[in-house]
C-alpha cells in the first residue's frame, strides 16, 4: 500500500510544529522558521495574499518516477514501494547529479563535511519501521533484522533515542506516520494511503469550490507525486514550482538511453564494414603493385 501526504494549506495556522517535529525526529538542532538545507527537510513560508497570510509548506514531493533516482548513477536514491523516495548512504559517491536533476530542488548537501551526505525528506521511511523489539548491540546501537546497525540516512540509531523516534512517528490511532503529520495540531498535514488521500483531496475541492482553487498540486506534476497540496490561492502566488510540466522527467533521458544498444550495433557494424572495405582496397593495391613490380623486373 503506497503512502502519501496531503497538505491542506487552508487549515494551516503556521505554528511550525511540523518543522520542529522534523528536526526532533532527525536529531537536528532546533531552529525557528528554517530554510531548506541539510538539517531541515521541510519549511513554512508565510506569504501575504488577498485571503490573508498563507503558509506555504515545502518538502520532498516523493515523485512517482523521481528524476533524482533516475539520475543517480549508483542507484542510491530509490522510490520504495512504500511511496517514499529514500537515499542509501553506503552507495552515494557525492556527484550531486540528483540535486541538479530534481525539478523541486529538494536534495541538499553537507558542504562543510569531508564525508558529505545528500540529505532530504524520506517521509520518515526508516523511522516508521523502527520498533521496540529490535535487538541492541554491546555499544548501545539498535540492530536491524539482518544484524547490521539500524541505519537512518547514514546514521546509526542509539537505543536511548529509539522511544523518542517511535513516539514522534506514531499518530493518535497508533498507526505509524511521518513526524510532520503526527505533530500537526490542525490536521493540515495528513499521512495515509495514497489513493485514499487523493479521494479525500478530490472530495474537498468538489464540496467546497468557494474555498479551494480547483487544483491538487502534486497529482499531475512531473507525472504524479506522493505529496499533495490544497490551497485557497493559486499555487503560482505561493512560490510553488508550477512550470515543471506533467511529463515524467526521466523519460527525457530514457528516450536517448534506450537507443544505445541499436546505436552500438549499427555504428559498430558500419565502422567494421568501412574498415574491412578500405583495408581490402589497400591490400589489393599493394598486391597489384607487387605484381607490377615483379613483371617489370622480369622484363628488365
Amino acid at each position: 500500500m503506497p503512502h502519501a501526504i496531503l497538505v491542506d494549506l487552508t487549515e494551516c495556522v503556521g505554528c511550525g510544529a511540523c518543522t520542529t517535529a522534523c528536526q526532533q525526529v532527525h536529531q537536528f538542532p532546533e531552529v525557528e522558521n528554517p530554510t531548506m538545507d541539510a538539517q531541515n527537510f521541510t519549511t513554512l513560508r508565510a506569504i501575504e495574499t488577498e485571503d490573508g497570510e498563507v503558509y506555504a509548506r515545502q518538502m520532498c514531493q516523493h515523485c512517482q518516477d523521481p528524476a533524482c533516482a533516475s539520475a543517480c548513477l549508483v542507484g542510491a536514491l530509490e522510490k520504495t514501494r512504500d511511496g517514499a523516495v529514500t537515499w542509501a548512504a553506503n552507495k552515494c559517491i557525492g556527484c550531486r547529479y540528483c540535486m541538479v536533476a530534481c525539478p523541486f530542488d529538494i536534495p541538499k548537501y553537507e558542504w562543510a563535511s569531508n564525508n558529505p551526505k545528500v540529505r532530504k525528506c524520506t517521509m520518515c521511511y526508516m523511522e516508521r519501521q523502527l520498533t521496540t523489539d529490535l535487538k541492541v548491540d554491546a555499544e548501545g546501537y539498535v540492530l536491524d533484522r539482518s544484524g547490521e546497525r539500524y541505519d537512518i540516512d547514514g546514521h546509526n540509531v542509539k537505543a536511548e533515542d529509539r522511544d523518542m523516534i517511535i513516539e514522534l512517528t506514531t499518530n493518535a490511532d497508533g498507526k505509524r506516520a511521518s513526524a510532520c503529520s503526527v505533530a500537526c495540531p490542525m490536521n493540515s498535514t495528513m499521512f495515509g494511503d495514497r489513493a485514499a488521500l487523493i479521494g479525500e483531496a478530490q472530495r474537498r475541492i468538489k464540496d467546497n469550490p468557494d474555498t479551494y482553487v480547483q487544483k491538487i498540486y502534486g497529482l499531475k506534476e512531473v507525472g504524479g507525486t506522493s505529496v499533495f497540496y490544497l490551497s485557497s490561492v493559486p499555487f503560482e502566488d505561493l512560490g510553488f514550482y508550477t512550470n515543471v510540466g506533467t511529463e515524467n522527467l526521466p523519460d527525457h533521458t530514457w528516450r536517448v538511453l534506450e537507443k544505445i544498444p541499436d546505436i552500438v550495433v549499427t555504428a559498430g557494424v558500419a565502422l567494421g564494414a568501412v574498415y574491412w572495405i578500405t583495408n581490402r582496397r589497400e591490400e589489393v593495391r599493394k598486391f597489384e603493385q607487387d605484381v607490377k613490380n615483379q613483371r617489370s623486373q622480369k622484363k628488365a
Binding site: 539520475a71 530542488d105 558542504w111 510540466g245 623486373q297
Partner: protein, 405 residues
Amino acid sequence: MKQFLSRITFWKATAGLFLLGGLVTTVIRFGWGLGASTNLTDETPWGLWIGFDVVTGVGLAAGGFTLAGIVHVFHIKRFEPVVRPAILTAFLGYCLVIVGLLFDLGRPWSIWHALIYQNPHSVLFEVAMCVMIYTSVLALEFSPVVLERFRLQKALKVIKYVTPVLIILGILLSMLHQSSLGSLYLIVPQKMHPYWYSPMLPVFFFISAVAVGLGMTVVESYLSARAFQKTLETPLLRDLSKMMIGVLLVYFTMRGIDLVRRDALGFLFDGSFETMMLYLEVSLMLIIPLILFNLRNWGRSRQGMFFSAFSVVLGFMTNRLNVTMTSLEAYYRENFGVSYFPGIGELMVTISIVTLGFVLFGLAVKYLPIFPDHEEETVLRLDTKPENSGPHAMHARPVPGLNRH
C-alpha cells in the same frame, strides 16, 4: 644556482605559480570539504569543475577518436603523422578529467561504486562506464609509443594485432559518452535557457566534439612545431582545418534549425547576459574561423590555420560552459536570487590541471616518439606488415625507375 635561475622562463614561473595555487586549494578541498574550497551551494550544486574539467575536458580530447577513425578505419593514411599527438592528447585529457572528477566528487574514494551499484537508467552511469573503458582503450592505443621507445617487439605485435578492434571500440565509446554529456542535461528542461536546452543536445555534443577534436589537433601540432621544431606539412593542417570547418557548418546549420523550431530566436535582441554569451560562442566557434578561412592567404599561412582552430577551441569551451553554467543562471536568479561564479580556488585547480596537461604533453613529446621525425623510422606501423621487413621488402617498395608500363 645561477644556472637553475637562468632556466626559469616567464611561462615556467607562471605555471609554477598556478600549480602552487592549485596545491593550496587541494589541501583546503580535501582537508575542509567542498564548501570551504568552492563557491558551490545547495542552489548551485555543479560548477566549474564539472562544467570545464569534466564536460569541456572530455570534448577537447575528442581528437583521439576522430583521427584514429580517419586513419585506421577510413585508411586515409596521409593523416598518420597526427594520429599519435591526437591520441596522446586524448589519453592525457581523459586522465586529467578523472583527476578533476576526484576533486568534485564529495566522496572520491567511493568512485568505484559505479562498477557495482549500477543504475542503467542514469546517463551519468553510462558516462562513467564509457569514460572508464575508453581511458583503458586509450592507454592501449597509446602503448605502442612507449613499447617502441623500449623496443618491446613482442608486445608491439600483440597490440598491432588488436588495434583495429581497439580503434572501433574507442570510436563507439566516444560516440556514446560525448553525446551523453549532453544527455545529462535533458532531465532539466524547465531549468535551462532555451538557447541551450534541446532534445538534440546529445547530437550537438557529439558533432561539436568531432569539430573541436580536429581543431585541437591543428592547435597542438602548430604549438609543438614551434616549441620542439617538429614540422608538420602545411597541406595536412590545411585539410584538417577544412574538415573542421565542414563539420562546424553542419553543426551550426542544425543548431539554427533547432532554435527556429523551438521558437528560441525571439530572445536574440533582448541584450541579456545569455544572449551575449550566445553571441560570444557563435563568434568564436563559427564567425571568426569563417572569416579567417575566407582570407586569400589562409591556406598558405600556418598562423591563419592556427588562429582559426584556436578560435574554434575557445568557442567550444564557451559552448560547454554556456550549457553547464550560463543556461542555468536565469533559473538560479529567479528561484533563489543567486548567481554562480567560480571561486579563486576552483579557478586555480582548473588552471593547474590544464597546466599539468601542457607539461605532460611537453614531456611526452620530448622523450617519446610522438611526432614522425623524432628518432629513426618507427619500427611497426599498422599499414606495414611485419614480413615486409624481410628481404622481399626491397621488391615491394615502388622503385621509380622500374615502375613504367
